[in-house]
């Protein structure tokens, strides 16, 4: 599954539904919802990819949360090479990790005992800290976190994260003109970490 799907949230969402006795349709529907955030992310990514529609569609398969976030530039474009390279590394690690887990998971026993359950949240937290350096990013992150927090007890895995993306709709509001120049289009705030440290 990891080699063919390569989407943690969709995989975990589908498996959790199946494991709890859900139907194939319910599992696929939940996974599709969890995966649907890649649609607007892919639309945003499109102009930064190379070639015609077929090639862009193929390159779009490299879309994963961390790569997308790290490859984004302050002007709304994306570093295509960084995204592809970053995803390749993650794909190999994700697939190999799944193989190792499937084969040797029984020997390791409870992976939580090793503290491995802290790895993914920490990874996301480090990325988030870079995003929090802009005022608008802080507000949206807080809203997104609260939305997820509120929905966790009531919705299947994947849904709270997807619903949290609604917080980004604040970006539809036009930003007030700055004294030094013409009105600015909505976008990443000045002072984004991307200005300081290319990743």
């Amino acid at each position: 599954m990891s080699a063919l799907v390569f989407g943690g949230s969709a995989q975990f969402a589908a498996l959790s539904v199946v494991a709890s006795g859900g139907t194939l349709g319910a599992a696929l529907g939940t996974a599709a919802l969890a995966h649907s955030r890649f649609l607007p992310m892919g639309i945003a990514l499109g102009p930064s990819l190379a070639g015609g529609p077929v090639r862009r569609g193929i390159e779009g398969q490299a879309l994963v949360d961390a790569s997308w976030a790290m490859a984004s530039r302050p002007d709304g474009t994306f570093d295509r090479s960084f995204l592809l390279g970053s995803t390749l590394v993650q794909y190999v690690a994700w697939t190999l990790g799944t193989v190792v887990g499937a084969i040797g998971g029984g020997a390791i026993g409870d992976t939580d005992r090793l503290g491995l359950d802290a790895a993914y949240p920490t990874f996301f937290l480090v990325l988030l800290i870079h995003e929090l350096r802009s005022g608008r990013g802080r507000g949206v992150a807080a809203a997104g976190g609260l939305i997820a927090l509120a929905l966790i007890p009531f919705t299947p895995p994947g849904i709270p994260v997807m619903a949290a993306s609604l917080a980004a709709l604040v970006g539809l509001r036009r930003r007030p003109p700055t004294p030094a120049g013409p009105p600015t289009a909505p976008g990443p705030d000045p002072g984004s970490p991307h200005d300081e440290e290319p990743r």
């Binding site: 639309i43 503290g115 790895a119 949240p121 937290l125 988030l128 990013g137 966790i152 949290a164 993306s165």
Partner: protein, 103 residues
Amino acid sequence: MSVDVWLLVLALAVIAAVIKGAGPVALGGRDLPPRFTGVVALLAPALLAALVVAGVAGRDGELGLGVEAVGVAAGGAIALRGGSILLCVVVAVGVTAVLRAVT
């Protein structure tokens, strides 16, 4: 588990590929309207915050904090001091493992 696992895997692979492939093709590679770009630029903090919350406080669909929250916080503290992602993750995993061993 009555669901055909391979059917699930293949159907999921198709759904994932279609969703990921549709986005970059949807607008023909044209630039996005500025307002849409503004929303997209803010998706990252919203999604990342939700992923952190779900990963730390949302285990098994229930709200709650475990010792991994302390580990993640330790990793975050390292990040605030300019540590690399790898160092942050190693610290978080290590702190969580130690706390879990002694509690």
